[in-house]
Symmetry: C2
Subunit: 214 residues, 2 copies
Amino acid sequence: MRPVPGEAKQRGLLVVLSGPSGVGKGTVVARAMQARSPAARRLRRSVSVTTRSPRPEEREGEDYFFRSEVEFQRMAEAGELLEWATYLDHSYGTPREWVEGQLEDGYDVVLEIEVQGAMQVRERRPEAVLIYMLPPSWRALRRRLAHRRSESEEVQQRRLEVARREVNLIPRYDYWICNDRVAPAARRFLAILEAEHARVKRWNVSELIGDTSG
Amino acid sequence: MRPVPGEAKQRGLLVVLSGPSGVGKGTVVARAMQARSPAARRLRRSVSVTTRSPRPEEREGEDYFFRSEVEFQRMAEAGELLEWATYLDHSYGTPREWVEGQLEDGYDVVLEIEVQGAMQVRERRPEAVLIYMLPPSWRALRRRLAHRRSESEEVQQRRLEVARREVNLIPRYDYWICNDRVAPAARRFLAILEAEHARVKRWNVSELIGDTSG
């Protein structure tokens, strides 16, 4: 992380990114992390714990930490999860300690999580930045889900139904992004982080002003 | 203005940019307007009315509208000014009608104005975005002011004194930008506008969501 002259070192942002399954959250975050800007360099992606089975292309520790129901329950009870939620019969959670360490070191940490978990974060961490990603149209979303050949028609239908209910929670989010194309969506995502760092309320004002006699 | 798919047409943002005299507000806005991004293309700079005399390089209607005290007073009383304030013995104001028209057409309008005027905008237009620009150091600011050879030492000293008092109002602003170098400062400025457009509270949510049966 390159310090900006005149800016004191600042704690990282806790960023929540939600949106219908299949909208492209992971793709947009991956693109944002590849950008050549200070905002991209200080971005880290949180890896969730889940009780569901890996899809063929998914890797342990990269896409998810795959854990048994018993182990997940133990983590939740031991307070090791920053938030956790159930979605389509499986549990998902965010490992707390790793996230805290990254924020402390000044990295912005993005959690790609469902609305249930997002509302827990909103409650527990009022300073978090909540972003909701929308598809350009619902037709486009159906098409993207249909391309996931590993899933049955029935699972796709349930994902769509969940999405249609969830969008009613958009007013609880701070920002929304339309994923019309990956590059502009990634640019908007990074712009939000850059702007949030510039919010006066996130700073100690006397530190900002500095020694006016200098 | 190129419409973004999935985004309804949106009213422009009323943006206030304040900061000590000599900090480089005009230079940063000019650079931002030259950028090749949607945020740059929808940016317009408001030209203020003033009662002070033009500096050699200043052009009527480009830098300011230069008006007599009597005419300025008339405009203020007729409600033709969105805000107005006195700074170092002269009056400055923002022509209301032009600004309203631009906002209506979807352009973001930036007012480079003093803190007095900014506080009037904060009061009258709660939806406005207030940004304060700081120099990398106070020493740097003194140096920049000294380069304005058209001004006496005494005027420079008064500008510095005003700046030292004004910074106490930074907590009333939404964002701050450090003008360490022009390019990154312009980038941060545009990021703030892009993020503000993405704020959920600036949208009609049912319009965002669209027809979920589609």
